[in-house]
């Protein structure tokens, strides 16, 4: 079952007098319970695509449907509500609220939705256990390590049992060991909780945790790769595809077509 579908999505920005085409007629689908990685070099449009999928920005053209909601036909308030209940976000810089404890940060989406966190105590406790932070629940972000903060962010993203989790370079600000732990956690949530995940990354190792990798280049989808489960082989395959995509991008349009 398709949980997320983007059809012929385009996005342009005006920067002064120049129009930048960040995305060009991108088609992208994600099935329920799938873990998809989006890869590409800087400026390829991967973060832009993630922003559009999450309703953080609006498309210039095309359609995005998430969990049955046509985002492109909703107003700002409606998109916000869809985002509140159907999307969990994980960011490179964690983005926890500094004056709230770990537990309170996890419960924040419930608070915003007008729900009493105490009524969901069991779920919050379970998530804390899931991310291994039960004994750090009352700590503020400045009392947690980077990895711990990201785990809090993951728990926050999962608390509303969203239709999809969007992760933007979730390991970009972590060391490799901690990053690996986070990736395992994401993989686990997909396998055990059947959580649908879309992750933007530039790291082949991170992408190897996904079921499928989509390659973006200059605002277009230039390829896809299904992983095999053999981590090292997948990493090599991803790096090769990435290199091929970059080399292809350096060709002239005529060379590309030939």
């Amino acid at each position: 079952m398709t949980i997320l579908e983007a059809r012929r999505v385009s996005k342009q920005y005006r920067m002064g007098e120049v129009t930048v085409h960040a995305l060009h007629e991108v088609d992208f689908t994600v099935a329920k319970g799938e873990f998809v990685a989006i890869m590409g070099p800087s400026g390829s449009g991967k973060s832009t695509l993630l922003h559009l999928l999450g309703g953080l920005d609006s498309v210039s053209d095309g359609e995005i449907t998430l969990a049955g909601h046509r985002l492109t036909q909703l107003n700002d308030n409606q998109v916000t509500l869809v985002r509140r209940r159907n999307i969990g976000f994980i960011f490179q810089f964690f983005n926890l609220l500094p004056m709230l404890s770990a537990e309170e940060n996890i419960a924040l989406p419930l608070l915003i939705d007008g729900q009493n966190p105490n009524a969901h105590r069991e779920r919050i406790d379970h998530l804390l256990q899931l991310v291994g932070l039960v004994d750090r629940r009352h700590h503020k972000p400045d009392q947690l390590s980077g990895g711990e903060q990201q785990r809090v962010a993951i728990a926050r993203a999962l608390v509303t049992n969203p239709a999809i989790v969007l992760a933007d370079e979730p390991t970009g600000n972590l060391d490799s060991k901690t990053g690996e732990e986070i990736l395992h956690l994401l993989r686990w949530s997909c396998d055990e909780l059947h959580q649908t995940i879309v992750m933007v990354t530039h790291d082949a190792r991170a992408a190897s945790f996904a079921d499928r990798v989509v390659f973006l280049m200059d605002g277009r989808v230039v390829g896809e790769l299904n992983t095999t489960g053999d981590r090292n082989a997948d990493i090599r395959a991803i790096q090769r595809r990435l290199r091929e995509s970059e080399e292809h991008a350096m060709l002239t349009p005529e060379q590309q077509h030939s």
Binding site: L56, D57, N77, L97, L111, I112, H126
Partner: protein, 887 residues
């Protein structure tokens, strides 16, 4: 793990959900406030100061007015109407009017009263004249209040605390005294007191003591209640009364229209020589004289609140910047834009309530001190200050309202923060309100204010409120213009700061351009505070100069000879025969009323008629004319013709008078039209003064006695020595007091300084609030630049250099704020002087105080440096490693 969907089965817009959301936002707001305790405290302090000043001034003004009204109301007792002479205030009239009044249908009781002032014989040598905003008054006189003892208690409530009431006879020499007064003067029940009378001295037996309530409130308790005929004898007013108190029949007293009809009937029967008043009208006459002073206090207290509002706007704008990413994150998590506004406003509401509550507490304390100052300046005893529940509620509402209004624009701008901001690694600076075109709007606002103040001829009754609004619009416009000047100013300032702080000073000055919107806002706040000081200083300086000029010129002569008892002109001849005396001129003062018809405008004013002798006055003193081409000699010749007046600028303004116009006054002979022979500057009696001849005073008001002789000494005689000698020589026999002109002038200028000191305090409050704004800005700047400061430190900048950099930045803000403040302060000063003219009627020349400009600029600099000390210290403490990892 069970998959619970937390949001299932709960409809979107239930009350439960909304209440829960609000409760969550309240928690978030509290957390936000407590995470920045210093900033929260500073902001709340700004609100507190503004609310406190507004409440204190309001309580003091109300207390003053209430005290005055209370005195008159209590003295009048349950009288429904009061009959007095329509000529001079306190002027007597024949008691033949009493039977005419008693014959009028609907009158239950008509009680005669005679009142006048005297002294205890034991205090005759301590008698003196004091000045206040309301005019001059004698320092220790005793009010004789003559009543009909048999019937007066039907109208007035005498709270007898010892002894007995007056016997029923109208001519017994018994007296009731107020207990506090008796204790103060060591007078006891059963003993005699000796008072000065027209014929010398008289003894009165103290038969009873009353509480300081009801009629005992008059003259601040220095009142002697005596039988009517006794009073007439002591005051030499045989067959005369000063007022008749009327008790209407019950069915008329409770019906306002019937009472009004009775009032009209009485006025028609009695004719032009009398006026029939409601007792409250007497209090209104006095309170009117204080109105302009109180209006001024209220205006400046409102300005203090305005500056506080700026601080709040400043703080919330900075808070939004600081939390840009957090706000973006909240939107990512599904907080709607409207909820973002609500979150910011909840924070503002909490601050507003806390600040207002603190302000109310501080305001009550401030009112105690303020009321003492105002009581001295206005010569009004303010009874225990009432803390009105409605006043407290209003203060809370005003504080909350101002905070919410000030936070509205930042809250609105917060809603426009995109969720993408959450994904940035740095916070983008928030632009200025209205963007870079704000200066256009600011210029338009300033132009609008200028037109309203100088060009558009509004109706007189709306000129003052429009003027006040225009001042606020002017300052708001100026604040919007400030941003465009930051860039050019910095280009000049960087070398100034380099000179004082070295190379880091240049860095500091350059920093003001980076968050230029925030810098501009802080400059604007400082500008408002400094502009208020300059405006007030210039206004008071101009006023004091004019008063001093008037005092030196118009208050002429060397000595003033006065007596608590009426003096005769013949005494002047005796003074003139003294070898030290070169000239003597008699003066008589009489409160009169303009005619109800025949003048431009109808006001219930009292005007001080100063009766002079044109022949002798010119040799001793002169007048200060509005039109400098006029001279005193010519004016005195006009007065000598009779039927002429020199009116003060205030009276001329109020009644739209010019040379040759007519001012009609109520006199004993009916309405008399006086021609205006000149317009003079005169600050006595709040400016409501006319100068005429004593001959006219005698002819039209029946007043022939002398209140004061102005004496000019021959050259070589010391005024102080001669004053003492004359007092010793004539004091005992004539009970005179002699004061040097120099001493009297000093009293007047001292009073002026006292009166204006209160305005200076209010102006300083604005600067204190502005200083809080500077601290807020710098702390914010330091926070934002943690990584940069860490980088500078890693390059070798010492802690001291970091601190100097912050001080330089603040110094740049102070210099710009000071310059703007001085410029607009000069403009404001003109506006304030216009306001003084409109409210008080005075025409004051604009005098620029050079020292005030320098002092204000120095204040701006000092404030900016003092306010920067803590932020500079914070910046110097930044740890390098943490700072460069700072997000």
């Amino acid at each position: 793990m069970r998959c619970l969907h937390p949001s299932s089965n709960i409809p979107e817009h239930t009350t439960q959900r909304m209440v829960s959301t609000l409760s969550s936002f309240y928690t978030l707001a509290l957390r936000n406030l407590s995470s920045r305790p210093v900033r929260t405290l500073l902001t709340a302090l700004g609100i507190m100061l503004g609310v406190a000043v507004v409440l204190a001034v309001s309580m003091t003004n109300d207390g003053t007015l209430a005290s005055i009204h209370h005195i008159f109301d209590e003295a009048a007792g349950s009288a429904d109407l009061m009959i007095t002479s329509s000529g001079a205030i306190g002027e007597s009239f024949t008691d033949g009017v009493l039977p005419r009044v008693r014959r009028v249908a609907g009158i239950q009781l008509a009680l005669p009263v005679v009142s006048g002032r005297t002294l205890l014989a034991s205090e005759a040598d301590k008698w003196g004249l004091e000045v206040s905003v309301g005019g001059t008054h004698t320092a220790n006189d005793l009010l004789l209040f003559g009543i009909d003892p048999a019937h007066d208690r039907q109208v007035r409530d005498y709270d007898l605390v010892a002894g007995s009431f007056l016997p029923a006879e109208l001519d017994s020499y018994s007296v009731l005294l107020v207990k506090e007064y008796a204790e103060d003067k060591k007078l006891s029940l059963g003993k005699d007191i000796t008072v000065l009378s027209a014929t010398g001295q008289e003894k009165l037996r103290v038969v009873g003591l009353i509480a300081k309530s009801g009629p005992g409130l008059q003259n601040n308790g220095a009142v002697a209640i005596i039988p009517l005929k006794t009073a007439q004898t002591l005051l030499d007013m045989h067959g005369e009364l000063t007022q008749v108190d009327v008790l209407a029949a019950p069915e008329i007293a409770v019906a306002p229209r019937k009472l009004e009809a009775l009032k009209e009937t009485l006025a028609n029967i009695l004719g032009d020589g009398y006026q029939v008043l409601y007792p409250a009208a007497r209090g209104q006459i006095v309170t009117r004289m204080l109105a302009s002073y109180q209006t001024g206090l209220s205006f400046f207290s409102a300005v203090a609140l305005f500056v506080g509002a700026f601080l709040i706007y400043n703080t919330f704008t900075m808070t939004i910047v600081e939390r840009t990413r957090a706000i973006g994150m909240l939107q990512v998590l599904g907080t709607t834009r409207r909820q973002i506004i609500v979150l910011v406003l909840i924070e503002a509401a909490i601050l507003g309530i806390l600040g207002s509550l603190a302000g109310i507490g501080f305001g009550v304390l401030l009112a105690q001190g303020l009321s003492r100052s105002v009581a001295t300046v206005t010569n009004t005893e303010i009874r225990a200050l009432r803390i009105p529940l409605d006043g407290l509620a209003w203060s809370l509402l005003i504080g909350l309202g101002v905070t919410l209004t000030s936070a509205l624009l930042p809250a609105w701008r917060a809603r426009s923060i995109s969720p993408l901001e959450a994904l940035r690694s740095y916070a983008r600076p928030l632009g200025a309100p209205l963007g870079r075109t704000g200066w256009v709007w600011g210029s338009l606002l300033m132009l609008l204010a200028y037109l309203a103040l100088y060009r558009i001829p509004f109706r007189p009754e709306v000129q003052v409120p429009i003027g006040m609004v225009s001042v606020f619009v002017l300052l708001l416009g100026a604040t919007l213009v400030v941003p465009i000047t930051i860039g050019p100013a910095e280009r000049v300032l960087h070398w100034v700061m380099r000179t004082f702080y070295g190379g880091v000073g240049q860095l500091g000055a350059a920093n003001i351009r980076r968050a230029w919107a925030r810098t501009a806002l802080t400059v604007g706040t400082l500008m408002v505070g400094i502009a208020m000081i300059i405006g007030i200083q210039t206004m008071t300086h101009s006023f004091e100069l004019d008063i001093n000029h008037w005092v030196q010129t118009a208050i002429g002569g060397d000595l003033y000879v006065r007596s608590p008892l009426p003096m005769r002109e013949e005494f002047g001849m005796r003074l003139l025969s003294d070898p030290a005396v070169a000239g003597v001129s008699p003066i008589t003062y009489q409160q009169v009323q303009p005619a109800r018809h025949g003048n431009h405008g109808t006001f219930s004013d009292t005007i001080l008629f100063v009766g002079i002798d044109p022949q002798t006055y010119g040799r001793i003193a002169s007048f200060v004319f509005e039109d400098s081409r006029q001279d005193s000699t010519q004016a005195l010749m006009e007065l000598a013709k009779g039927g002429r007046l020199l009116v003060s600028a205030t009276v001329a303004d109020r009644y739209a008078l010019q040379m040759g116009d007519i001012l009609a006054l109520e006199t004993r002979r009916g309405v008399v039209q006086f021609q205006v022979a000149g317009v003079v500057v005169d600050f006595s009696s709040q400016g409501y003064v006319v100068n005429g001849s004593r001959a006219d005073l005698a002819r039209y008001f029946g007043e022939r006695t002398v209140d004061q002789f102005i004496v000019r000494l021959k050259p070589g005689y010391d005024p102080r020595v001669e004053a003492k000698r004359l007092e010793d020589h004539y004091g005992k026999s004539r009970h005179i007091a002699v004061e040097t002109a120099a001493d009297f002038r000093a009293k007047v200028t001292r009073l002026a300084a006292q009166a204006f000191a209160l305005f200076d305090v209010l102006g300083l409050t604005g600067v204190v609030i502005a200083a809080l704004g500077v601290i807020n800005t710098l702390l914010m700047n330091v926070f934002e630049r943690q990584r940069e400061i860490g980088g500078l430190r890693s390059l070798g900048m010492t802690r001291g250099q970091v601190a100097r950099m912050i001080l330089a930045e603040s110094g740049a803000i102070g210099i710009i704020g000071g310059l703007f403040g001085v410029f607009f302060g000069l403009f404001l000063a003109r506006v304030f002087l216009l306001g003084v003219q409109e409210i008080g009627g005075y025409t004051v020349s604009y005098h620029l105080p050079p020292q005030a400009l320098l002092v204000s600029w120095a204040i701006a600099l000092a404030v900016s440096q003092l306010a920067a000390l803590y932020p500079a210290w914070k910046a110097a403490q930044v740890r390098i490693v943490e700072a460069i990892q700072h997000e």
